[in-house]
């Protein structure tokens, strides 16, 4: 037997056919999306993906909740997966392969939008409508971040706010008796601390978004909580003086040496360490920092640490009750879930006042619920956070949830270039405005 020309041709043709089949009419992703409605199966395994790792007592609280849920729903087994730090990537991979879990934790705004466009999450309105007073256990206006075309797609599990934490001892040793209430106070404190050789502010400079929080908080203080929404809807330009001024203020902070030496290389662990070991006097970060404070090696730290809302700027339109943050992480139900009704039962219990109160006191994470808890069992600083959240008059979501992902990358790039002194505040917003026009 020998290989004839025709055999070669056959082989070649075979491979060509294979390749053609692989490509045929091939808009990528065609096999996913869509999926069955209904989902009334009452038994089976309910998969539940949570981002990150358990904080404080979160693990044991969740195990107890799962156990009681399973005993209340015979035939249902809940499979909990903590996805660790790569939650975003894992969920996206699951989206591509069409294997989203029944219940998935995700973020609102521009993070959630692609999932809605992909028809990956179910609208929850009918479930919410049929759940009596469940909604009244949540803070007002909780749903804005998860509403698309008038339908609600997720129920919130946590709320976060950005704060200026400070170490009372370090400030008073420098002769600063009052925590900074205004930007000018903050700048003066920075200079005084530097003069004494104390690192003024610790911040995660590596990941980009914490610095973005400083910029956006300054912009909100300058222009009020409506500024960003006006800019997004085109009512005000991105070159608005309130934005440019925020850049100037950020540069003033950096030029005065506000952030730790080498701060652009600090990740969360490094930034945490500076503040928790008393090497930096202040820390700008999210409210989840409280948990790091109470679990620090220095058990007296919690008595030394307090916070103020982000300082006001001179002549700014902002008020102290406007907060950067708001309802953040949330739970949604996969369109393909065969157990959607059970999944809702699970979410309803998870986001109930009872469970949220346990999570709140067990982890010191802020929750978007009107929680009931014994205020004497937690550090006073946590009660202050809860009250502040309840009294908030306006929220600015984190910009990475407000801006489209690619626009947000552009913004953080520009913000980092500003921090490194490569561009001026005016150039930064000119370039961003030009980019957003496209």
């Amino acid at each position: 037997m020998k290989i004839t020309k025709s055999m070669r041709r056959m082989l070649g043709g075979g491979i060509a056919t294979l390749l053609a089949v692989a490509l045929a009419g091939c808009a990528p992703g065609a096999s996913t999306g869509g999926g069955g409605q209904g989902g009334g199966s009452k038994t089976g395994t309910l998969t539940f993906w949570l981002g990150g790792d358990p904080v404080g007592k979160e693990g044991s609280i969740l195990s107890a909740y799962v156990a009681s849920f399973e005993s209340g729903h015979p035939g249902v087994k809940v499979s909990v997966v903590w996805t660790g730090a790569q939650h975003k990537q894992k969920v996206q991979a699951a989206l591509v392969s069409g294997d989203l879990p029944d219940v998935v934790q995700w973020w609102g705004g521009s993070f959630m939008e692609p999932l809605i466009t992909a028809n990956a999450l179910r609208p929850l309105d009918s479930y919410i409508g049929g759940s009596g007073d469940w909604q009244s256990g949540l803070i007002d206006n909780w749903s804005k971040n998860y509403t698309f075309s008038g339908k609600i797609y997720a129920a919130p599990t946590d709320a976060s706010t950005v704060q200026l934490y400070y170490n009372r001892d370090l400030l008073s040793q420098t002769g600063i008796s009052q925590p900074p209430g205004t930007f000018e106070d903050l700048l003066a404190a920075v200079k005084a601390l530097r003069a004494k050789g104390v690192t003024p502010i610790s911040i995660n400079g590596k990941d980009g978004w914490p610095l973005q929080e400083v910029y956006t908080y300054l912009a909100m203080r300058n222009g009020g909580a409506g500024l960003i929404f006006d800019a997004l809807s085109g009512k005000r330009p991105w070159t608005d003086p309130a934005f440019v001024l925020a850049g100037t203020q950020l540069r003033q902070l950096i030029d005065a040496g506000a952030f730790a030496d080498g701060w652009l290389a600090d990740d969360t662990a490094a930034a945490d360490a500076r503040f928790m070991t008393g090497k930096a006097a202040m820390y700008i970060f999210g409210s989840w920092t409280l948990n790091s404070v109470v679990s620090a090696d220095d058990k007296t730290l919690i008595d030394k640490v307090d916070y103020v809302p982000f300082p006001l700027t001179a002549g700014g339109k902002g008020t102290l009750t406007e907060l950067q943050g708001g309802p953040n992480g949330a739970l949604g139900i996969s369109t393909k879930s065969k157990m959607a009704d059970i999944a809702w039962e699970f979410i309803k219990g998870y986001t109930s006042v009872e469970h949220a109160s346990q999570v709140a006191t067990g982890t010191l994470v802020l929750v978007p619920n009107k929680i009931r808890y014994d205020r004497s069992t937690v550090p006073a600083i946590y009660n202050d956070h809860v009250d502040q959240l309840a009294k908030a008059t306006g929220f600015n979501l984190f910009w990475n949830e407000l801006l489209k992902p690619e626009d947000n990358t552009k913004f953080t790039d520009l913000n980092n270039s500003l921090a490194e002194g490569k561009i001026t505040p005016q150039q930064m917003m000119d370039q961003f405005a030009a980019y957003m026009k496209k």
Partner: protein, 292 residues
């Protein structure tokens, strides 16, 4: 008989070929195909032609990443190949402690990249890092800086680590090549009076030239795709100062959910790699020296 052998060899190759097509060729084609779509996870892509490419070439961040990739490539070449050869030669000539050094130089190869990244992040630390402490100790305190947090030093800092990580591999490759040279050649050379540098230049180096070519191609193709250490150490920052093509692709694909665009970046990486690999092979095309 011979022809039968060819048939049979073809038949036995088929399962491997099928697997190769399924897990390498088809996905590659799918990626190239996806580069012409606007496509997010879970969505059906919309065809946009070469739009992703024009957008990409207009993006300064992409041009930075491309430039940094070439810096990484050249840096890796400068560090890995000469050092790999020198270490291999020293060990081959059995200077003191060669078994010990062979192990020591190879250790980075068996460490996970993330471990290496953590290790070197400590070395580069502004406050307590080894490098800054060393500089201060020898009176060069002015040179201290947050090596990874300063856009003027971040790229070179990660390039050094990438180089360091793979020196051991090239040492091993060169060592294997050196050990393949028949001992009689060295003896003959010594009788003819070729010792030391002369021997290295006229006998040893020409006999490992093929290994050198292989190593260059390995370094180049590896550098164009390099990702993990850079991501673990700087995520391409600050301000994109240490970004490379792969980190740019990761940001576009998995942080911005633009899989089609990321596919376009991957396509560019593939093309760059092919051009370099084929180009290098042409340059290197020379008859190998026959070993006696």
């Amino acid at each position: 008989m011979i022809r039968n052998l060819r048939i049979w060899s073809l038949i036995f190759l088929l399962p491997g070929l099928a697997l190769f097509i399924y897990i390498v060729v088809l996905p590659t084609i799918q990626v190239i195909n996806s580069s012409m779509y606007n496509w997010s996870p879970g969505q059906v892509g919309t065809f946009v032609g070469l739009n992703n490419f024009t957008q990409m070439f207009a993006d300064p961040s992409f041009r930075d990443a491309l430039l940094h990739t070439f810096v990484l490539l050249i840096g890796a070449m400068i560090i890995q190949i000469p050092l790999g050869f020198i270490f291999a030669y020293l060990i081959f000539r059995r200077y003191i402690g060669s078994a010990f050094f062979q192990t020591v130089f190879f250790i980075p190869m068996v460490l996970s990249s993330v471990v290496i990244a953590l290790l070197w992040t400590q070395v580069y630390n502004q406050d307590f890092g080894l490098l800054n402490s060393l500089l201060r100790a020898v009176g060069l305190g002015d040179l201290t800086r947050p090596w990874l947090g300063d856009s003027s030093s971040s790229l070179i800092s990660v390039v050094v680590v990438v180089g360091w990580q793979y020196v051991g591999l090239y040492m091993l490759i060169f060592l294997a090549a050196l050990q393949r040279i028949p001992h009689s050649i060295f003896e003959a050379a010594e009788i003819d009076g070729a010792v030391g540098v002369r021997q290295l230049k006229s006998i040893t180096a020409p006999l490992v030239i093929d290994t050198l070519k292989l190593s260059v191609i390995l370094v180049v193709t590896g550098a164009v795709q390099y990702f993990n250490l850079i991501w673990a150490m700087t995520q391409g920052g600050p301000a994109n100062s240490s970004s490379v093509l792969a980190s740019y692709m990761f940001i576009k694909g998995l942080q911005e959910s633009r899989l089609g665009y990321a596919g376009a970046v991957a396509t560019v990486m593939l093309v760059v790699n092919l051009i370099l690999a084929i180009g290098l092979q042409r340059v290197f095309r020379r008859e190998p020296l026959e070993l006696g």
